[in-house]
């Protein structure tokens, strides 16, 4: 929900980033306050995932210009694990498989690391098992996934659910969901959306990268941004997503259709 007085969580200004020498982000501006839900849409290859990875600190991407502030702190000074511990969470578009590492071990280590950082209680394997099973229930995930290797052999949708499970465990302050809806069946979409809505509160914020209105039917965004060629070229309310669905991205360029722009 929008509240002009709430704290600015993320402030990105004129962000340029390159990967193997190619500039992909060409001046991104976005401001996210706590309590808000943002959606980023845009054509394939427009730079949405790149933005997400730059925000999370992927080592292959180099920030060449601009500022990236999280909770007033310059992110460029933080290693990716420090950003995660500070409360930035990225649900990956393509979660990697990690053969040989049991999911429950991985989840517990991640959980305890973040808990430790927050000065809160860490859980031993038995306590954690109870805790994680509760969270899995909310997402209607089969507990068998705990004993399997992280993401290994998971179906596309199962991987996405495993991402949301991690989000539920880590309770981030800023979560970036990169096409978490793609590959989910209709039931799963509803379950995941419910889970996300439950996690959402006035102190955290959410950025959803999506191609489809259907996710936004469940999770109502306060702002919809359109990314094109490495920049956010339009920002508006949730009606923008509907308009895009009807007209397609070219419509943005056709003429001076009037949409509210963020002040």
């Amino acid at each position: 929900m929008i509240n002009a007085n709430s704290k600015i969580l993320l402030e990105v200004h004129d962000l340029h980033a390159t990967v193997s020498g190619t500039e992909i982000l060409k001046g991104v501006d976005i401001t996210v306050r706590s309590g808000e839900i943002h959606a980023i849409m845009g054509l394939n290859g427009s730079g949405k995932s790149t933005f997400a990875k730059v925000l999370a600190g992927h080592p292959s991407y180099e920030v060449t210009r601009g500022t990236l502030l999280f909770d007033g702190q310059d992110l460029s000074a933080l290693a990716p694990e420090e950003r995660a511990r500070a409360g930035i969470f990225l649900a990956f578009q393509y979660p990697v498989e990690i053969p040989g590492v049991a999911n429950n071990q991985f989840l517990r280590l991640a959980y305890n690391t973040v808990q430790g950082q927050r000065g809160e209680e860490e859980l031993d394997p038995l306590e954690f098992d109870d805790f994680v099973r509760e969270k899995m229930k909310l997402l209607k995930m089969n507990p068998d996934f705990l004993d399997r290797s992280v993401n290994e052999g998971f179906s596309g949708g199962e991987k996405k659910r495993n991402e949301i499970l991690q989000m539920a465990l880590l309770e981030p302050r800023l979560a970036l969901l990169d096409e978490t809806d793609s590959g989910l069946d209709i039931d799963a979409l509803r379950i995941v959306a419910n889970g996300v809505n439950q996690l959402s509160n006035k102190d955290n914020a959410l950025i959803l990268v999506t191609h489809y209105q259907r996710l936004l039917d469940y999770i109502a965004p306060d702002y919809v941004h359109v990314m094109e060629a490495g920049r956010i070229i339009r920002t508006s309310g949730k009606e923008l997503a509907l308009a895009l669905e009807t007209h397609g991205y070219d419509w943005i360029h056709t003429d001076e259709q009037v949409t509210e722009t963020r002040p």
Partner: protein
């Protein structure tokens, strides 16, 4: 390992004939006179001198092997001193004299403060009740008739046993380094488990009261009689430094009917620095003879040290229904080279063997698995399963697999699986995005990768080995 045990091994040698030897170091070089000197200093029986001399004569006619996938400058065998009187390790006066690198290692391995001094060779005034630990241990073993002592002591006290078994699995002329070892070995361990006895505890080299450096040419002989069983641990996770560059040990295991020998090694010899300067050449011949029906020989090794490792713990499966196992983790980093694997020689009917090899390479290192599975014509219904997995960390290292399979009996079943994987940047980023740093991530991935091998180790050893691996790979990623 406990402080008490560690103090124990650092104590001056008190027992046995070794204390009688007064002389210091033999002149450099190798010839028959030197061998006679070694033998007489050690007060050996005539047959053992003959054994040594024959080995030496064969060695003279052999050439240094070059087939292994490792590179090193030529060794000058005349520039080595083959005998020095056993002496206690030099003690340092305080922790300040200890190599800081070593201290950092202890830190990483989580070795308790009070044990570090002992491990580093610092004189400690308060010695734990080490003598009584040793005594209790010896008494317990003696009660059930187990012999566990240095091989020199065994030559004096049990000459007939040594004569019966020494060189029966690894004959003196077996290979270049085994021949050299047979000619000049100075010490090592002997372990004898009599008929029907299950050894009540893991036998560890820590317990052998023998404090001098075991020398470059260590000799180990383990015999398990009918129905006996033993688990033997060699080495430790703490780094071992040695001024001798070449190490050529021989280990022989003999299992009679229904006997079971499990031999576990954690090898952490000095590997040289990041630039590949220094480090031990570890050229070892390890072989077990599963001689009796239903006997079993199982090798587990975690190889992390040495500049060059060259070893193939093998099993000769002669007894009907005998079983051979080889579980190995070999880690190389920086400029280390490892060429390791096993040989499973199936001779008896219904013999079975399992090979699980995990090679991890980082830095500019090279690791090769070399394995031979031979099913001889007499080995009806023999079975082998081999699995060789390699993991690469970074892009400058190499992993190679050389499996040799020779089947001469068509009832055999031989399976071989191999895989190569890489710890990728995206995997590490995934961990990082969940708050987990690269070091912990690598340790998790590696432990997952090595799980089947670590499961074979005694629990305490497994925990240490896990930490050791993470430590060895520290800084190789991210």
């Amino acid at each position: 390992m406990s402080a008490a045990l560690q103090n124990l091994v650092n104590q001056p040698y008190k027992h046995g004939f070794v204390t009688n030897i007064e002389s210091d170091i033999a002149p450099k070089g190798l010839n028959e006179d030197i061998i006679r000197l070694i033998s007489s200093k050690k007060n050996e029986p005539e047959w053992l001198l003959t054994f040594r001399l024959e080995a030496y004569r064969r060695w003279l006619n052999m050439v240094e092997p070059v087939w292994q996938n490792v590179k090193y400058p030529k060794i000058d065998f005349q520039n080595i001193s083959y005998y020095s009187a056993p002496k206690p390790k030099k003690k340092l006066a305080s922790m300040d004299e200890v190599d800081p690198e070593l201290l950092r290692t202890f830190e990483k391995l989580g070795i308790p403060m009070h044990e570090r001094a002992a491990l580093a060779g610092v004189a400690v005034d308060v010695i734990f009740d080490s003598v009584s630990v040793a005594t209790t241990y010896k008494e317990k073993l003696a009660e059930v008739g187990i012999i566990f002592c240095s091989i020199s002591e065994a030559v004096q006290r049990y000459p007939e046993l040594i004569r019966q078994y020494l060189g029966t699995v690894v004959p003196p002329g077996d290979n270049y380094y085994a021949a050299l070892n047979s000619a000049v070995f100075t010490d090592g361990s002997f372990c004898f488990i009599p008929k029907g006895v299950k050894c009540p505890m893991d036998l560890s080299t820590y317990f052998r009261i023998n404090t001098e450096e075991s020398g470059q040419f260590e000799r180990t002989l383990i015999v398990a009689e009918e129905g006996a069983s033993v688990s033997y641990l060699e080495g430790c996770t703490a780094p071992r430094f040695d001024t001798n560059q070449l190490h050529a040990a021989v280990v022989e295991l003999i299992a009679l009917d229904d006997a079971d020998i499990k031999y576990s090694t954690v090898q952490n010899w000095y590997a040289g620095d990041e630039n590949g300067i220094g480090g031990i050449y570890n050229f070892v011949t390890k072989r077990g003879l599963a001689k009796g029906r239903n006997s079993r020989i199982s090798w587990t090794q975690v190889e992390t040290g040495s500049a060059i490792t060259w070893k193939y713990p093998s099993c000769i499966l002669r007894g009907e229904n005998s079983v051979g196992e080889f579980y190995s983790v070999a880690v190389t980093n920086h400029h280390q080279q490892a060429d390791t694997g096993t040989k499973m020689i199936h001779i008896g009917p219904n013999t079975r063997s399992t090979i699980v090899s995990k090679g991890i390479s980082a830095g500019q290192s090279n690791s090769s698995y070399r394995g031979l599975v031979r099913i001889t014509p007499t080995a009806r219904n023999a079975r082998n399963y081999s699995q060789c997995d390699s993991m690469l960390i970074g892009s400058q290292c190499g992993a190679h697999t050389f499996p040799y399979i020779q089947v001469q009996n068509n009832s055999a079943q031989v399976e071989h699986e191999a895989s190569t994987s890489k710890i990728g940047e995206d995997q590490l980023f995934y961990f990082a995005q969940r708050g987990i740093d690269a070091e912990e991530a690598v340790s998790m991935i590696i432990n997952g990768f090595c799980k089947e091998v670590f499961q074979q180790l005694p629990l305490e050893f497994a925990v240490e080995a896990t930490k050791l691996l993470s430590f060895k790979l520290e800084g190789s990623v991210g």
